[in-house]
Symmetry: C2
Subunit: 241 residues, 2 copies
């Protein structure tokens, strides 16, 4: 089966968490909105949001045969089951998903660093609020979230190599993406904490070195970070050097 | 098995979505932080967040035997499976969960109406930003989310009585809570749209009339809405009458 991923074509965004899982799974997929032709492109993405039945609220969504799956963490729950990217037992599945949902909460806060007042306003029109939000985000929220995930790694009874269980799961891929995104968006703040999260740093390096992920990151399929996505580099929001 | 729910004792908050599912399931449970004594109260809740193993990031979390489940939507995924509060097939399970995750996104935006800049600041210290946020929230986000869920009901191939499939699921209970919360927090804005979402209104009334839910809502177990929870009544944030 060839999956069809529907997501905005010019940003990593939330779609990137799905792309990383598809790549690591070695799954056959097309990134529909990045292609041109019939039933391709952004118009196909928009069409899927207007269809009947199990219409998703927003991208990303994944078509798997007749199944249409929306919500990033939900897509990963599905891919984890079908591609051995999560533990198989109920306890392990729920735990992996729980960690993914906490990453989703964190990512929503990252988005709000540049859009605290309204997603429909430009960043430039909410800059003072963005600066205020980012200040607390970097001082309180980043240490809270990263400190939590560092502890989860440290205390994993199956070893410190992965977040959930003894093997790689989709949440490890997502954690890599979060660390890469934070490094891009807040280089000064993250440089100051370079040694604060040794296990998360090791995990990120381990994920980046996975043969399939390394190949993906070096390919044109990986859209570079840019200031239209979730992780944006606005020096005004970062701490000073 | 007797479940142990851990959540803040004086608010409905995110815990209420779990309480409603436990009540409708007729499950035996205790609301740990609302009780006093050994291993009870807020200290027991805090203790659970500091423990090793599968420690949740934040309340609510549910203990089910040796299992500790965090993240509201994840708890509902579990309860849906174990108490016939969701379809059993993969397609139906994922669809129900997808809708719940979209409700979770909506609820996070409701929270941000009074806390747009930082969860750690008082509302009173971010009031202008809260007013700005709420204006767009009521004008754009509420119609977008409620319009979406109204369409989902209308197009449900199994009938317009429930959001997912032909039977009640946890997402119907959560939808009731969202409608009740919005009516509490934004009485003027919601009164103006009283007739805009007829199927959601019917669904809410149907849920409120379920014998177990009606009994719960009339009991002391149901904490009243108040201005410490997610849905808060601040007239400054509502539209004018």
């Amino acid at each position: 089966m060839r999956y069809q991923l529907y997501y905005w074509p010019t940003i990593q965004g939330r779609g990137e968490f799905v792309r990383l899982a598809l790549e690591q799974a070695g799954a056959e997929y097309i990134d529909v909105a990045r292609m041109s032709g019939k039933d391709r492109g952004v118009s196909a993405l928009m069409h899927g949001l207007a269809a009947g039945g199990t219409t998703p609220f927003a991208p990303p969504y994944l078509k798997a045969g007749r199944l249409v799956i929306g919500q990033t963490a939900n897509i990963l729950l599905y891919l984890g089951d079908h591609h051995a990217l999560a533990p198989k037992d109920e306890t392990g599945r729920l735990w992996t998903h729980q960690l993914q949902l906490t990453i989703a909460d964190f990512v929503a806060e990252v988005h709000d660093t540049h859009h605290p007042l309204a997603a429909s306003l430009y960043y430039e029109d909410q800059k003072p609020a963005a600066k205020r939000y980012s200040k607390t985000f970097l001082a309180e929220r980043v240490p809270k979230y990263l400190g939590y995930f560092e502890r989860i790694l440290k205390r994993n009874p199956r070893g410190k190599r992965f977040l959930a269980g003894a093997r790689l799961s989709y949440v490890d891929l997502s954690m890599f993406q979060v660390m890469a995104g934070l490094d891009y968006a807040f280089p000064n703040a993250m440089a100051k904490r370079r040694r604060s999260y040794p296990l998360l740093r090791e995990l990120s390096a381990r994920v980046a070195a996975l043969p399939r992920i390394a190949a993906y990151l070096g390919s044109k399929r990986r859209i570079p970070f840019n200031n239209d996505g979730i992780f944006r580099r606005y020096p005004a929001l970062d701490t000073r050097k």
